[in-house]
């Protein structure tokens, strides 16, 4: 199966070179249009530097940034034994030397993603919503899919391709806006820019404009087409690892059945998610915008494999051809092994607990609320309709509503003052408890360290890890 990695590498390099040429062509033509002929060198230089800096940042800090932005918390084996076990099982199945780190996002949306530009520093991240709603087999399918992204080197490639796409979009957008305002400027107040623009050749200007419009389109098409293909490849590799297509199929089915977006996602890493994190967003980009193939098709292929009873790459290719027309998905080198790999039986025959598939969206939180939530504010709805934001430094158990003057108590965990010493000892890991009063609406509470947490109406988890003091907080429900 590691021929796939080799084949991927070669193809990636070709596409990568293509995108790089697009970027260079774009920046050189813009440079030439602004000032002929030295502008060409400047354009190439600026374009290259922009790309190099962003790539370097993505390479060295990308993983950390992504995990930070999505508010993921690293979890230990004591707190999430099953998740850890499943990740390690997949590591063994893929015969990888490195164990990915395990992260959890306290988000009710069901999703998962992988990071790890360098495989030895990879991480697999799942949402709390996913953990709550999937049974062991389904979770295994999802983790296998993410592991496949890591071993197929998709993270590396898609991150750099994403950065390249971003740079191209940025330059072309900048040029189009700049040339528009520059033209107006040359007639009125902008002396210097106007005079330099007058040196430029109108034909070169036209070429640059055409480039600025075409390049992002082409880059987008490249990028999204590759991304969708990699998604299929990751599915094929995943079932090759688990030998159980039904697990991934029913996980996908369950995930796509819940219409909630991930609150914090990152468009660069969107291809790394198990399912498109912006699927329900109204601000999806204009064309060929999906990083993921239609979930129904993915499920169809997986179910066909399950019914056929075989899961080799050959079988996946056959099922893919049947589902999506006679196209080639996998390289020949991966298909030449005539391996017979049978499907095994799943462990969880009975379905696990299905957490509320409520389709209504949770309350819409603004950007400032997100920032506040991230820094540990507690949100208290007052009966007068005002939402009071309590900072973690308040240090009191009640606060007064600034509008109606009513006193409100700040909810907090009930026990576990001594949480720091206890946190690793307990096998079920709960040192403090918070009892939900109204699980059908947003609730927030203080950890004993003062840090605030929000629980969404869809959250049905039993456990939350404090992002500040790392204590385990058990969540109880009425009845």
């Amino acid at each position: 199966m590691w021929e796939l990695v080799q084949q991927n590498k070669r193809k990636s390099q070709i596409i990568f070179a293509g995108m790089f040429l697009l970027l260079m062509g774009l920046s050189v033509s813009i440079g030439l249009a602004i000032e002929y002929p030295v502008g060409g060198y400047w354009g190439a230089f600026v374009g290259f530097i922009l790309w190099a800096v962003q790539s370097a940042v993505a390479y060295f800090f990308g993983d950390q940034i992504v995990l930070r932005v999505s508010q993921a918390t690293k979890v230990s084996k004591e707190n999430y034994p099953q998740l850890h076990n499943i990740v390690e099982e997949m590591k063994i199945a893929a015969s990888q030397p490195y164990m990915p780190e395990v992260y959890v996002i306290n988000d009710e949306a069901m999703n998962a993603f992988a990071t790890g530009i360098r495989p030895e520093k990879s991480a697999i991240c799942v949402t709390a919503g996913l953990l709550e709603s999937l049974n062991r087999d389904e979770l295994q399918g999802v983790v296998a899919h993410e592991m496949s992204h890591i071993i197929n080197r998709d993270v590396l490639f898609m991150t750099f391709a994403g950065v390249m796409l971003g740079t191209i979009n940025m330059i072309s957008k900048g040029f189009i806006i700049g040339s528009y305002s520059g033209r107006r400027g040359s007639y009125s107040r902008r002396g210097r820019l106007g005079s330099s623009a007058s040196k430029s050749h109108p034909a070169l200007m036209l070429i640059a404009l055409v480039f600025a419009i075409i390049a992002p389109l082409l880059a987008n098409i490249f990028y999204f087409a590759i991304s969708r293909k990699r998604e299929y490849l990751a599915d094929a590799t995943a079932v090759r690892l688990t030998r159980y297509p039904e697990g991934l199929a029913s996980a996908l089915e369950r995930i796509s059945g819940t219409a909630t977006n991930l609150v914090m996602y990152n468009s660069i890493t969107a291809p790394m998610y198990i399912i498109n994190p912006m699927a329900y967003s109204d601000q999806a980009s204009v064309f060929s915008s999906s990083t993921h193939p239609p979930t129904s098709e993915r499920i169809g292929i997986l179910r066909a494999l399950q019914n056929g009873g075989k899961v080799s790459f050959r079988d996946y290719q056959a099922a893919y051809a049947k589902q999506c027309g006679n196209k080639k998905l996998l390289p020949d080198s991966a298909l030449k092994n005539k391996e017979q790999i049978a499907v095994r039986t799943g462990m969880v025959a009975a379905a696990g607990a299905v957490a509320g598939g409520v389709s209504k969206k949770g309350a819409v939180r603004g950007v400032t609320d997100l920032i506040m939530a991230n820094s540990g504010f507690v949100f208290l709805p007052c009966s007068c309709g005002l939402k009071i934001k309590v900072p973690p430094t308040l240090g009191k158990s009640n606060t007064q509503c600034p509008r109606c003057g009513k006193f409100l108590t700040v909810p907090s965990v009930t026990s576990g003052i001594n949480h720091k010493s206890e946190k690793t000892e307990n096998i079920d890991g709960a040192a403090a408890t918070f009892v939900r009063k109204n699980p059908d609406s947003w609730e927030s509470f203080n950890c004993s360290c003062g840090f605030g947490h929000q629980l969404s109406p869809l959250f049905r988890g039993r456990k939350v890890v404090c992002r500040k003091c790392k204590a385990n907080i058990q969540i109880d429900y009425p009845e």
Partner: protein, 188 residues
């Protein structure tokens, strides 16, 4: 002169190619070795887990001494085989252990209190995961063996493999009589 340079270049390219293939073969062979030892690691993990499991269950299952004895015996047999036995013996002993564990877990079904016990649930998850790990490490071993064997058979790496005596590895296959026949559950 030119002829010599071209000859040297051709020989150079040939050597680089040759070294590349050789290194890949060595890498694959190490991979096979590594995944073989991974199976041992997981089997040991299972051996370490069983005493805990039995200890926790004993408090709840007072009248199931036979089951405990069977599991403990199977474990010690498997450990002995692991120390001295051949691959086939190990495979057989471990398969027997799997069988007796499966029977043990079936008996647990009759003890709802035990099934609800937090400690036991955690151990059960560990056991499930261990069984999976064993299965997956075997699967990974077989995958690696297949890749290695293919490389040995295929041109041009078969030439290098022949020169340096790379031998094909064997697949891991076990006769598992207990897993084949479904456990009999009687409600009489």
């Amino acid at each position: 002169m030119i002829f010599v340079v071209i000859l040297l270049a051709v020989v150079g390219i040939f050597i680089i190619f040759f070294v590349g293939i050789y290194n890949r073969l060595v890498g694959l062979r190490n991979r096979v070795k590594n995944s073989w030892s991974q199976i041992d690691v997981q089997l040991k993990r299972r051996h370490d887990l069983i005493p805990n499991l039995v200890e926790t269950a004993k408090g709840f299952m007072k009248h199931e001494n036979e089951t405990f004895v069977a599991v403990t015996e199977a474990r010690s047999k498997a450990m002995n085989a692991g120390n001295s036995g051949s691959v086939k013996e190990i495979g057989q002993a471990e398969a027997d252990l799997s069988g007796s564990l499966a029977k043990f877990l079936l008996t647990v079904e009759n003890y709802p209190e035990l099934k609800a016990n937090q400690n036991f649930l955690a151990l059960q998850e560990e056991l499930t995961s261990t069984e999976n790990r064993i299965a997956f490490s075997r699967q990974a071993y077989n995958d690696d063996v297949m890749m290695f064997n293919n490389k040995i058979e295929m041109f041009p790496s078969n030439i290098v493999a022949g020169m340096f005596n790379f031998e094909k590895s064997e697949f891991f296959e076990i006769e598992n009589k207990d897993e084949r026949e479904a456990p009999k559950v009687s409600f009489s």
